[in-house]
Symmetry: D2
Subunit: 433 residues, 4 copies
Amino acid sequence: MTISEYGKKQLVEEKVFKDPVHRYIHVRDQVIWDLIKTKEFQRLRRIKQLGTLYLAFHSAEHSRFNHSLGVYEIVRRMVVNFQEFEEWNNDDRLLALAAALLHDLGHGPFSHCFETIFDTDHEEFTRKIILGNTEVNEVLKRVSVDFPLEVAKVIDKTHENRLVISMISSQIDADRMDYLQRDSYYTGVSYGNFDMERILRVMRPSREEVIIKESGMHAVEDYLMSRYQMYWQIYFHPVSRGGEVLLNLALKRAKHLHETGYTFKQAPKYFIPFFSGEVTVEDYLRLDEMVVNFYLQEWIHEDDPILSDLAHRFVNRDLFKYLPFDGSVITISELEALFEKAGIDPDYYFFSDSYSDLPYDYDRPGSKSNRRPIHLKRSNGELREISTQSAIIHSITGVHRMDSKLYYPREKIMQIEDLEVKGEIINLLNELA
Amino acid sequence: MTISEYGKKQLVEEKVFKDPVHRYIHVRDQVIWDLIKTKEFQRLRRIKQLGTLYLAFHSAEHSRFNHSLGVYEIVRRMVVNFQEFEEWNNDDRLLALAAALLHDLGHGPFSHCFETIFDTDHEEFTRKIILGNTEVNEVLKRVSVDFPLEVAKVIDKTHENRLVISMISSQIDADRMDYLQRDSYYTGVSYGNFDMERILRVMRPSREEVIIKESGMHAVEDYLMSRYQMYWQIYFHPVSRGGEVLLNLALKRAKHLHETGYTFKQAPKYFIPFFSGEVTVEDYLRLDEMVVNFYLQEWIHEDDPILSDLAHRFVNRDLFKYLPFDGSVITISELEALFEKAGIDPDYYFFSDSYSDLPYDYDRPGSKSNRRPIHLKRSNGELREISTQSAIIHSITGVHRMDSKLYYPREKIMQIEDLEVKGEIINLLNELA
Amino acid sequence: MTISEYGKKQLVEEKVFKDPVHRYIHVRDQVIWDLIKTKEFQRLRRIKQLGTLYLAFHSAEHSRFNHSLGVYEIVRRMVVNFQEFEEWNNDDRLLALAAALLHDLGHGPFSHCFETIFDTDHEEFTRKIILGNTEVNEVLKRVSVDFPLEVAKVIDKTHENRLVISMISSQIDADRMDYLQRDSYYTGVSYGNFDMERILRVMRPSREEVIIKESGMHAVEDYLMSRYQMYWQIYFHPVSRGGEVLLNLALKRAKHLHETGYTFKQAPKYFIPFFSGEVTVEDYLRLDEMVVNFYLQEWIHEDDPILSDLAHRFVNRDLFKYLPFDGSVITISELEALFEKAGIDPDYYFFSDSYSDLPYDYDRPGSKSNRRPIHLKRSNGELREISTQSAIIHSITGVHRMDSKLYYPREKIMQIEDLEVKGEIINLLNELA
Amino acid sequence: MTISEYGKKQLVEEKVFKDPVHRYIHVRDQVIWDLIKTKEFQRLRRIKQLGTLYLAFHSAEHSRFNHSLGVYEIVRRMVVNFQEFEEWNNDDRLLALAAALLHDLGHGPFSHCFETIFDTDHEEFTRKIILGNTEVNEVLKRVSVDFPLEVAKVIDKTHENRLVISMISSQIDADRMDYLQRDSYYTGVSYGNFDMERILRVMRPSREEVIIKESGMHAVEDYLMSRYQMYWQIYFHPVSRGGEVLLNLALKRAKHLHETGYTFKQAPKYFIPFFSGEVTVEDYLRLDEMVVNFYLQEWIHEDDPILSDLAHRFVNRDLFKYLPFDGSVITISELEALFEKAGIDPDYYFFSDSYSDLPYDYDRPGSKSNRRPIHLKRSNGELREISTQSAIIHSITGVHRMDSKLYYPREKIMQIEDLEVKGEIINLLNELA
């Protein structure tokens, strides 16, 4: 791939963005500067990095724009450090930077809910935006006619350059290193702090991937523990997931109403492609969190009592209650049947939420995981999979931890008219608590 | 005023919010807890603390909800510290806390622009929301029938209890102490850091106001300097104001179109009360930043080229250029005439923006300011106005600093067809640069 | 025990110490204030918290005075939080505070080395200082005639009040919580950061010990990981231990010289009680790091070449080299024999250093450990040992990790005259590397 | 000057020191690495950066070694930034780095006191150590026979390269930028925080000096205010100066005793050259804070009651009391006479301490100052003295602020036997308070 003059163009003076996590984000390439200015990239300002987490941690209101700049900056620093190693080919520099910047381009509003309800896939849309008729594609094409495809292949991990892929997506990549620190900064917790400066210093390029100098093992342990804590303390916070539950149910209801011919007071025009499962890139890009919130606020005033109630609950943070749930006391279908008997529609007023996390693992014969290990490089050049060296990491390797919660509207339970059913449900919930 | 049992009710277990600025926000009063849950207070999550500043500092995406909790927490800590002084009457505790929490309740989306274009006033709406038919009013009334009015009077500074007012609104109050630190944290700059712990330790209640123990003078100097730096480095950032300029012009255009009978593709129903100048509390509360952004995104697709262009510019951050401007080279009306001659409508493609700041002042005979001084309390009990004691503060007292900028669309200038006018304008702009 | 009026006396105005770790240290009790002013407590300013660690982390120069205030402050905050629980008896408040402040009183300069070479015991001296003819004893006695003994018993863990003991010495106590954070702050690493605010919030007093509310489990996980990382990354740093090795050998040499009748140019008067094994409290208190360093600087000028060399090496940081060593390639006695053959005295130019850590454990039938578990308290009041609840903690429970290093003077090896022996030693060292 | 191969030698792998202020200190030059290892540089570990300030801020225990590495690191970063400007001659790189590292080499223990009492000058000793028979000189000479002199001339500001001098000594230099931040970090106050990252970004080399891009004006304002606050809040803290007062008086007494033939129990051999005013480089280097403290601890046991008392007071922090003093109520000599009358020797039990600060100034016709201004560089290349551009800086330019305190031993006053004199003195002191 020949890179055009444009692809090599440097800004006369470096541009910097003040950033609370990395102090400054440095931009010197005209291409990067132009990518940031595209409307598809600017759109990421209107999508929160952490979806509904602001309902649990009020200060977590930052956007994916924020995070994307951060990932770019980390990769930029990796590239600076890699200069002195022959395993690094500097022709890949712009590819790595552009892929880092754009890796989340296809995220939509509250991606998890949308992907569940409407069967969309943000990775697929990242690819489509990069390759489609967009400002981002326009900029990338000016570097080289193949450049958009190259960037897309790095992001969807099909590129033959495994090293560049691993800088952006692996078990210790720029993406995770940015979000752990950034989400920690914004939520105000200390769990996401680890010594990234040290990790950057011990990262070494190889033909296959980024590897870690042996002396950096403890810094990686610390990073993996940060990751573990952030998942269980922050990302899986049941209040945040309770927000997602409501959004899920509201979208499901709106889709159902649309399918059954309900006439909305405020026609949900931007949702219709999603309801019908035929979403173009243009449709997709239009739907940011401003739009979704607008409709949810509108739906409060709809005649359908379920949609109106769910929308109100989401907008005004009137969340369902939750309880731990493992299916041992009663099964979900039994519970649903009980709710139905009590006159509460379990399709919209009952939600069983499961989530799990695997802090670190790698693919082994017979294992289901498809993850590349983190490798330590000894002073004699040998590579060792990190869990063979670290007792701490060994202890968490391959350990799936799961949890699940049951969400339900407490005040609806309290209003059940059939006192027997009401008593039965209340007893059950007490038993679960 | 007799406070009801409800007004005295304490939560069984203290609730805390993790906060990156104050570590934790502590809530023990049922009233405060209930106020936070109201939909009017939750609405503040949908209004950014710093309006368009995210266009200059990408990480400044925090909401007024965030800040309001912070102001509450600072006042809560003041009250704890004041317990041991007889000048403090603990009957005012709940009043101070509620007023702190609710002081920004009436802020709308991008308040500055809205107030300019639609002649609304967020302070007036704060009062109306507190006294009107709202969930907030409902909660406050349960404390005492007079309580909503008491709270409103503290916020609009007409309450007879000057001490409580000064905790929330004065030249060294909880409001400023929170926003300087919070905005500093979110933008990632260090300018807003000052030693609030020390200031809280040296604050003393008096009948009239909060005063400062003499030994705290340097901490106040530092605070005032922080404030000064934040204004000039952050709040007045010309890129942020450039965003406001576009919003201003777009709203002005939409209003004009409405008044001249234009038919919008997407009827701006929530704007109509604002266009017509008859805004109820309900109308007001509906209009948050989600809604405003939704309409701006809609307006991109309007037929009116000016509205469409201005909306596109705002949404996609395609800002006007700016130059320093003091009127010495050419006047605004002369420039406007030139633009008109060049076929560029100066009503929508030209904006002269002025701003000024007075870091510290106090009302003196003949001065126009209406500000109470910061008083230092000597060990013998005497009060001294702080600028008589601090050379640094003396040097900034009463010093108005002003600046102004001219905003214009560069590429429209470059497309002027009449080459003579084009040359004249370009020369002028170069002279201003 | 009746507490005197003096024991209850509060300062008219709270005193605060600015502290970088806890922001401020708050003192309100006259007793605490007076204890801080005693010369035995002031002496802790002349003993570094981390001994020779400054040789590895230049910024770790803080004293035990620093840390002792920090432990006091944490216990003070525990006591504030415990007020609302009936399991807490506020009569124990002063006991807890005094024991926290004084818990390290008996530390001498470079305690580890001194205890190894001179067979002293800092815990025993803490007790002796508290009970002896000292200013500290004077102050404590004014509280009650039994008070010194009470305090000493808390510190040496023989007091019947297990709760107060566990606040200061347990697997999650004020001592560790302070030093992890403090040592992290001073070394500039992030490993020691954990959410102490959260841990303090979830600590609950019980009759037996401090227990942890179940919801605080993750914060404890994070704390234990911090502890683990600090040990392996910081406290066991081989450069720091290399400083201790030199000090060890120099002291051993000086003692040997003294015993064999060598006449020192500068008579080591303060060391003589240590050489002869009869150390009074007064002797002990005299020997701080200023004095030890003074003598080491003097010893550089002694005629004995070994003492002079070792002292020079310590003072001017001319450390031995080190290698990992596990005894598999060659045994220590074989190596010593080789050194001897080469004309290098292995008593002073060879050191095998082992260290191990047990991040968390508790006493079980058959286990050698004598540690009380950390207990989680469920909402129904039941206690659970924490490793039964946390997979991460389970994985590290009872896991002893050991390491050892071999220290030797490289340039002495290079100067060995017998080329065969030299070659043999060099080959061996290369094999170990 | 031709630089030898040694002078150009780079370490195979960069060495880093973990530093809490600059994260890491980076060393790549063999020369710098070797300088750090010299015993003269290692000696700076035994001299506190802030002398007696630890008596006021317990956590301020860091050494000049610490600070010297920090200044080196800042200059290293300046040099990296200057690479792209033609005004920078990279041949000066090593000169700048070495001068930065060594600029404080001649500081002795408690320099201020020593210079007052013994008429030594740390700048003169820096020069002598660099040019004398030392390990530092040895290393520098290997770069080039002229190199030691070059380095010395940069440090004493006589070098013809004004740019390099200004990087290390000017009103906005690496020295101050390090110590403000470092002292702030260690004391735990926030006053010394300013945006050094920004200042480094706006610094530009010129033939004459480092200048500041106009857009950096606010960052410089913030820096100057930090400096101002640190002086008045930290460096001039009367408790710290009270420690210096005692040290001053004790040294003065010891010198007097020596001169009058007193026989010390512990002969103060290292002090004798200072007492007699004939101090060689070797004498000077021997006297670090370990040694001074050792002698002060010894002097407690001397027979001379004044020396013993002063030494005890210093070692055990039994400080004099202080009062503000401006000479208006009574003159110093009148007070001294009164003390004499009361039987208190004013030579050793009375001290009038004055200090003043000039936050910013520059030499103008008729001004006494000899300081180069800070220059801002406008976009058109013109230089402007900064106070003509910044109202805040203008307000503090040339403003000398002074203060003075009177130190005296309160309990000696309380023990005066002549009740009339005692009353007179107490009344006077009350009047001063």
